[in-house]
């Protein structure tokens, strides 16, 4: 439905000179699919979105919406709906007139406009707000108006630029569920930009992680989480431990890695070769922790150096060799906490460990 190929954009930086804001980005979004561009600020995700919208013109590459090459078209000819972080409501128009704007531009008649505006305002739960001015609304309500205004024209693609960043945490969760519900209900193709990994995981069918102007990994949330292709992705999505090690042996479908005085089997056949230094990534909740006792193969011994009790779960910092690991586990009930200074054994399940190059 939306396809970009080799999209590139240069910017002139005051100090650093010419920089690639976006470099050869290629993406494809299937009809009805929800794709999120995720990355830290300055990674080029907003610029990519603005080029899809037609607010910026690319220095190279092409943009297709449907089967139409829209690269040379202005935003007003692309048939898109856009939701800005700042909402960009027309401050001089009422809620009704804001939502009706796109319909009036399209020459939709009066009765039809009133019907469709009423319908879409009901959809976002703002039925009695027609006569209100934007400044009378709360942030969440403004965001709903912005959303209603973007979907009322039934665009071929809906584009979101960090739409929830100006809302407080609770409202953010509520709104992202609402956005997801509406997008599914209307089965509109959507491209969504955010720097918040949790938000990205909650709303998307697929996530493209961007860094320094390029897409570094693309896939479903669980794939990115369990099989990060780089330390950057592992770190950006969720919490992660990195352990230094060395590949001892390489076999079909796995490798034997020496880490913190123990030998681990690691699944997967990408990454460093035998004899090379490597990095092992493991999520804090994947590490098994138990009081010191008879060890088994692939286990690491350590000592608890700090403990944070968070209610439903407990975070432990455990020193093993010269590494410190973060281990998180569900609370086991009264009296089950491990004390600081206690010797423990850590288990690193092979299928939960990702093998990465020592440096990137």
């Amino acid at each position: 439905m939306v396809r970009v190929e080799g999209l590139s954009k240069r910017f002139r930086h005051r100090v650093k000179g010419d920089l690639w804001a976006v470099r050869e980005v290629s993406l494809a979004v299937a009809p009805g699919e929800f794709l999120t561009l995720l990355g830290p600020s300055g990674c080029g995700k907003t610029t990519t979105l603005r080029m899809i919208a037609g607010f910026e013109s690319p220095d190279a590459g092409r943009v297709w919406i449907g089967d139409r090459d829209v690269t040379a078209l202005m935003a007003n000819q692309r048939d898109i709906g856009f939701v800005f972080q700042s909402y960009a409501l027309f401050p001089h128009l009422t809620v009704f007139d804001n939502v009706a704007y796109g319909l009036r531009i399209r020459g939709v008649d009066r009765a039809e406009t009133a019907r469709r505006v009423g319908e879409v305002l009901a959809l976002v739960g703002l039925s009695r707000y027609e006569a209100q001015q934007p400044h009378q609304l709360s942030g969440g309500e403004q965001q709903r108006v912005a959303l209603a205004r973007a979907i009322v024209i039934r665009p071929r693609v809906l584009l979101f630029d960090e739409p929830l960043s100006n809302l407080d945490a609770k409202l953010r969760v509520q709104m992202r569920e609402e956005i997801r519900r509406l997008q599914k209900e209307l089965s509109i193709t959507a491209v969504y930009v955010t720097h918040d990994q949790e938000e990205a995981m909650a709303v998307s069918d697929r996530i493209a992680v961007m860094s320094q102007g390029v897409v570094v990994q693309e896939g479903r949330a669980e794939d990115l989480y369990h099989r990060p292709a780089s330390a950057f992705v592992a770190q950006f999505i969720g919490r992660v431990n990195f352990l230094r090690g060395r590949v001892v042996e390489r076999g079909a479908g796995g490798a034997l890695v020496e880490v913190a005085g123990a030998r681990l089997r690691v699944a997967g056949d990408v990454g460093p070769r035998a004899g090379e230094a490597a990095r092992v990534a493991i999520r804090p909740e994947a590490v098994g922790i138990a009081p010191d006792g008879p060890g088994a193969a692939g286990e690491v011994s350590g000592r608890v150096v700090a403990r944070t009790f968070l209610g439903e779960k407990v975070d432990y910092q455990v020193r093993a060799g010269d590494e410190v690991l973060l281990v998180t586990c569900p609370d086991q009930g009264p009296g089950a906490l491990l004390g600081e200074g206690q010797a423990v054994r850590l288990r690193l399940p092979p299928d939960r460990v990702a093998l990465l190059p020592a440096t990137e």
Binding site: A53, M74, A88, H92, G102
Partner: protein
């Protein structure tokens, strides 16, 4: 805190004393003179003066002229503001626009009028020399209107440019994404959002034209009398102080209407468009590519007219007699530096005195109004703005009536002129100070108080350094106006103390155009040098978002 701060109490009382003496007392004296005749209350005779058909016509003419200048000046200002904010001009071109619009702002208000006489007068460069037309009259509505528009449109430009720049680019992008064409975005988003700014610009120009007395004096002629000139002629020609007072007072009605509209209509309609991060500036401009050269071309045409006017002034000051003998000469400059030396000296002394006094007064009042709580604070804010909001003719005549006789006889001295400038032109500094302080967290000052510093020490050690930019901006405006203003002070000059601007007008009426041109060039040069110096100082001190001299000249 209240009442335990003797420094604050003394300062407030002192300021109220000054405001009572130099703002309220003159106005009440004027009111008294208008409302009484020979010691008895008599509004009837005041109405009789106004009901005179000739004066009624002057009143109507004033309104007509002000409306036309307001409309045309706002349109021109909008053109410049749109070009500056939307046409994607480089810094160089923006510099040209700014430089050209700065010239009328820092010149005596009748400079363009003089250039009009040089161009279209009886021996005018264009009508007589170029086209060979004889007997054409330069005087009347058209030329007055044209001259005032050129003089005052930069105010509209300075008002509208920030308004257009403040429109969130995302809002225009949004309209585009909803399918609107560039023209539709302009009509349905850009213009509606600029309407409060447009209204404000119109009202500012309307007020400026209404109060302008020098341009009509030079250009309007007998066929097109306007109220400020009539009031002036009534006093200087017929020695009828009361008649002049009544006529100037009639200006109050529209001036007050403008004030009310600005305060209660315009100020409430400014839209706040930014609610979150100001969006990335769009690179696809809302001005169509073909329109860009049209806008720039139109601006450059206006710029060329202004440049021509000032070049002509320079030329006229350096030739024997423009229109008759174009031989180069220093004669006119010799005249102004010998016969005119007194006026130059007096003006510089008065401007030199007004500048620091006005700057300090502006910062002090601004600080008290923005930061301190004391009885009568809101009243102080309003009263301190009065002389600034009123047409100069009213202020001048009020001072003349109030300070001509004991108990407080000041006319004939320099003090009355300095006081007039300080209380009339410092409000710019007051507003700049208030604006600056609103951006500075009061906790900075509270921290100083918490460390044991007195309120006076806190002001001196913490607040003052923070408002230095506003101080210099206010000071700059007072200096510029002291060098160029005429409408109020023409009533206050004397044999002992005179001003360059008054000498220029005298030269114009005596038809010694060369010295008038030389004086004008001198004033523009002095003002330019001083504001360039102040601008440099401002750049050294200025914090992000602080007042710049250019931006405060507008109001």
């Amino acid at each position: 805190m209240r009442g335990r701060d003797p420094a604050l109490r003394v300062t407030v009382l002192l300021l109220w004393g000054l405001l009572a003496l130099f703002v309220l007392y003159p106005l009440l004296s004027l009111l008294g003179r208008v409302a009484t005749d020979g010691g008895r209350l008599s509004l009837g005779s005041a109405f009789a003066i106004l009901a005179d058909p000739h004066q009624l016509r002057a009143f109507g003419n004033s309104l007509l002229l002000a409306t036309l200048v307001g409309l045309a000046g706002t349109a021109l200002g909008f053109l410049f503001a749109l070009t500056a904010s939307r046409a994607g001009l480089g810094r160089g071109w923006l510099g040209v626009l700014d430089a050209v619009t700065l010239l009328p702002l820092i010149s005596p208000p009748f400079t363009t009028a003089i250039a009009m006489i040089f161009s279209f007068g009886p021996r005018g460069l264009i009508t007589y020399q170029l086209l060979g037309i004889k007997g054409v009259s330069v005087y009347g509505l058209t030329t007055t209107f044209f001259s005032e528009t050129v003089t005052y449109f930069p105010i509209a430009y300075l008002t509208l440019r920030p308004v257009l720049a403040a429109i969130d680019a995302n809002v225009e992008d949004m309209a585009l994404s909803l399918g609107a064409t560039r023209a539709q975005v302009f009509r349905t988003v850009t213009v509606p959002l600029a309407i409060p700014g447009l209204a404000n610009a119109f009202l500012l120009l309307f007020a400026a034209s209404l109060a302008d007395f020098a341009t009509p004096l030079i250009l309007a002629g007998n066929a097109f009398p306007v109220l400020p000139t009539q009031a002036y002629l009534q006093i200087t020609g017929l020695f009828d102080l009361r008649g002049g007072a009544v006529l100037s007072f009639a200006l109050l009605v529209p001036a007050f209407g403008v004030y009310l509209l600005q305060r209660y209509w315009v100020s409430r309609r400014y839209y706040v468009t930014v609610s979150g991060k100001a969006g990335a500036r769009t690179s696809v401009k809302t001005v169509a590519p073909w329109l860009r050269p049209v806008l720039v071309g139109a601006c450059l045409a206006v710029a060329a007219v202004i440049a021509y006017f000032y070049a002509l002034l320079l030329y006229a000051s350096a030739v024997v007699a423009l229109g008759a003998n174009h031989a180069w000469t220093w004669r006119h400059y010799h005249v102004i530096f010998t016969e005119g030396a007194r006026a130059i000296r007096d003006t510089l002394i008065i401007a030199g005195l007004s500048m620091p006094l006005g700057g300090a007064y502006g910062v002090l009042v601004g600080y008290l109004v923005a930061r301190k709580r004391f009885p009568g604070r809101a009243a102080m804010e309003v009263v301190s703005m009065l002389n600034y909001a009123l047409p100069g003719t009213i202020v001048g005549i009020a001072y003349l009536i109030a300070f001509n006789d004991p108990p407080i006889a000041l006319t004939g001295g320099a003090l009355i002129i300095v006081a007039c400038y300080v209380f009339r032109y410092s409000p710019t500094g007051i507003r700049a100070t208030v604006a600056q302080l609103q951006q500075i967290d009061p906790s900075l000052e509270e921290a100083s108080l918490g460390l044991g510093a007195s309120s006076a020490t806190t002001f001196y050690r913490v607040t003052l350094p923070l408002v230095v930019p506003a101080f210099f901006a206010g000071l700059g405006v007072v200096f510029i106006r002291s060098m160029t203003a005429i409408s109020a002070t023409i009533f206050l000059v004397s044999i002992n103390w005179t001003l360059i601007t008054v000498r220029i007008l005298e030269n114009m009426t005596e038809l010694s155009l060369g010295p008038a041109a030389a004086f004008s060039v001198l004033v523009v040069a002095i003002v330019y040098v001083v504001i360039a110096l102040i601008g440099r100082v401002l750049r050294t001190f200025s914090a992000p978002g602080s007042a710049s001299l250019g931006s405060v000249l507008g109001g």
